[in-house]
Assembly symmetry: C2
Homo-oligomer: 186 residues x 2
């Protein structure tokens, strides 16, 4: 039942060192690529990274921008970061056995929308395989795109660090359905 | 298995008149609201419309803009529209027993990304309930938002006409996995 997967699935930032089978990663992409897209353009690309050197470089590039971002954060955002114990350090970029970089092809209409539908599919497929992730959006996607030689028209939408959960935090609460649903009038 | 749902799920623009149980619609929203979101802001709202009068008004508003859009279409887009027999007429806005309008709350960061993840969840949940839809993005979302009295900071992301499939077209082909996956370097 999809609901069980969706309900159990939680954001994970801490990973065990066990390396998942690459076939499981490919399975989740096989699921993701079945998503619908504007004009069936399938405007997505999936880059699997397991090379520790490249992971380390991505971590350095992302953390540099994160540090600036954190120093400038204020208000509700700063509060959220502190409450949730989120720092500029992104250890998961190193500790997750895989980084899955998902790109959208901006030459096509609705490339962002379509790609994020496919990411939704992929998150549920990961859960099915008992794999965890966090939808990490680096502040400086362009620098990371350059590092991995992505063509200019591919936009880095998200980095998904993937592995087995070593997370102690519970899933954050969701609103009740009556808070987010209306009938016939907003 | 998620793969089976993802693989079988196809875009549907023609619907039977049978009215699905509202509990099934609510089930899919229960799935969707488990999606992750930036700062766990849950920046989404789901408006269920089954009032024929409102459906008709939405159809009139959308088709007015579609007609203009089609008259201006050219190149690959025009080709796609003709090949796929897609016209400016959006009969599904009338024939689908339900329209589910999904809004993102633009006051939150990553509201679009988060909402489209939740739409991905929802599409698979619909498939699980044997329900079908098309991710219809009207050219003039603002006019429709006004009609249903959505607050200004809610952006209409998609209209999902929902019902039982009466579609004869097959699912459009997807690329092979090796066309969309790279390892360690794009």
């Amino acid at each position: 039942m999809i609901y069980k997967l969706a309900k159990n699935r939680k954001t994970v930032r801490k990973f065990k060192s066990d390396v998942p089978n690459i076939d499981d990663i490919l399975y989740t992409i096989k699921v993701a690529k079945e998503a619908p897209s504007g004009m069936n353009s399938q405007p997505w690309h999936f880059l699997i990274i397991d090379d520790p050197q490249i992971k380390r470089k991505i971590k350095i590039i992302a953390e540099k921008a994160e540090k600036t971002f954190f120093e400038k954060a204020k208000g509700k955002l700063k509060e959220f970061l502190i409450t949730n114990n989120i720092s500029w350090e992104k250890e998961f970029l190193n500790s997750a056995p895989y980084l899955l970089l998902v790109f959208s092809d901006i030459r096509f209409p609705f490339s962002k929308e379509s790609t994020w539908i496919s990411i939704g599919y992929l998150l549920l497929a990961l859960e099915e395989k008992n794999l965890s992730t966090v939808t990490y959006t680096p502040p400086n996607p362009l620098e990371i795109s350059k590092l991995v030689n992505a063509p200019k028209y591919y936009k880095l939408e998200v980095i998904l660090p993937i592995g087995y959960s070593n997370e102690s935090k519970n899933k954050q609460k969701r609103k009740n359905i009556d808070e987010i649903v209306s009938f016939n009038n907003f």
